[in-house]
Amino acid sequence: MALAWHPAIDRVTPPAAASFDRWLVAEGEDLAKLGNCAGCHTSQPARPLAGGRLLETPFGKVFATNISPHADDGIGAWSREAFGRAMRRGIARDGTHLYPAFPYDHFTHVTDHELDALYAWLMTRRAVAGRAPETKLAGIFGFRPLVAAWNLVNLEEGPLQRDASQTAEWNRGRDLAEGLAHCGGCHTPRDRFGAEDKARPYDGNKLEGWYAPPINARSPAVRPWTVEELHVYLRTGLGPTHAAAAGPMGGVTRALAQAPDRDVRAIAVYVASLMSNAPAARQDKPEPVDRVADAERAHPQAASLFAGACAVCHEPGAPMMQQGRPPLAWGTPLHIDNPHDTVAIIMKGLTPLAGAAGPAMPAFADMLSDAQVQELATYLRARFTDKAPWPDVQAAVAEARQGERQGERK
């Protein structure tokens, strides 16, 4: 039963690193990669887990907090009990409600043993001083006890029941995908209270200037997402018959690259099962669409832009295409029913982490005008898909440009 008032749990002296079993710590590290904790809680590599990353939500700016074991600024004074309550029920050590931007509605499914391991890992990290900026949401959403009502409706506490009709691998994959890996946090649309819409699981969701596409029977993928393809994609950030992981998914795949292979495969088994009735799974289309002549006739200026800016990598026969990279016609972004991902990838490109290998693409935001990005996106849809043109490309570009400007001011 969720109540608005919860007691504070007493501060503890941060437990000594040596007090934790080393195997438990190692297990916790694996789990932290599966959950991509650092994705939100590390904003500067030099200050791991010290928080500070800004999440733009429809309700205002939420800053990820410091979860390093610093006694005052982090969670060093949190007991295992306080940590478990935060993960399961979204309540901080001092009794205040955490905002559901912290996906405790997923983390609630993590088992007690896994919580032990995560706690052991977190408490053996370096304590980093410094608090993240305080989250202040607008209007009534700034009143944290309101979250209690949200929890009453949206929080199903505790680990999931095993589905005996499925394999152990599928069950493990579901536990991870629904729990720690919190896939629905991005891929499930949200209702007006910011909760995942349970009637439309994994049905696609717009966030942070990107669109996390549907990964259910409505998956717009052109080629089937087999377990093998998904496994490779999640581990490497590149699906040879789909596309490169972009935007927030890039960070997810970089974390999963360091997670245990059998767990990533289990996630692939489960997520592939969600898409087993998608159009691509029922009818594979191995020949990429390329309506080059029609598209050039309809959009001559964009065809010229493509020739000068894109063709050197993306034209069939270009050097990159000889390295087994997917043709644009197979990339999911062009087949989604909105242009957000196509526009975002043109403007922001793909940047691997400094010193790390990974798919790379230059950002064209400063090379092309808004009108040119719009023309190019329209041309790509016309050339590489057999779908109707997007109606709202101009608005999507304007929105992405607005995001760019805000990013520069930060």
Binding site: Q301, G308, V312, A360, M361, F364, M367
Partner: protein
């Protein structure tokens, strides 16, 4: 004919509209500062400024420029190049023009960047000789010469 503005001067060139800006600069206008490195927008040797922002000129079709203003190494003040010379930042020198142009764009916008901001800003440009430490030293020197300075890690960590 296509008209473009380079280093404050209007230029007319007779080329295909999809010709990359880099080829126009080098082959039509004899501005050879920007170099052809990879031709894929991955190395930064061809960096120029369009409306004061650094871009890969090998991937900008010349007809896409419109009214936007191009600045190349040849049109920059001598402060940053002088700092690169003073620090002897070049080994083979192939990347240096692009490095100078990219550094210029940072210091014009922010003459007091942090070390982290400096490194993040220069990250798109590659140097295969490995003179990165000298290149960073040159940009720090240039920042001071422009009345600013690069803040060390210790200065900006809370």
């Amino acid at each position: 004919m296509i008209t473009l503005t380079v280093n404050g001067k209007a230029q007319q060139v007779d080329v295909d509209p999809d010709t990359p800006l880099l080829y126009v600069l080098r082959n039509e206008l004899a501005l050879n500062g920007a170099k052809f490195g990879c031709g894929l927008g991955q190395c930064g040797a061809c960096t120029v400024l369009i409306d004061d922002k650094p871009v890969f000129s090998c991937l900008v079709p010349v007809a896409a420029l419109g009214e936007r203003k191009v600045r190349t190494l040849e049109g920059l003040p001598k402060t940053v190049p002088a700092a690169f010379e003073a620090e002897q930042a070049a080994q083979c020198g192939y990347c240096i023009a692009g490095m100078i142009v990219r550094a210029q764009s940072l210091l014009e916008k922010n003459p007091r960047p942090t070390e982290e901001e400096l490194r993040a800003h220069l990250a798109p440009n590659l140097c295969r000789c490995g003179t990165h430490m000298r290149i960073l030293a040159a940009v720090r020197r240039a920042a001071e010469a422009m009345g600013g300075g690069v803040r060390s890690v210790a200065e900006h960590t809370p």
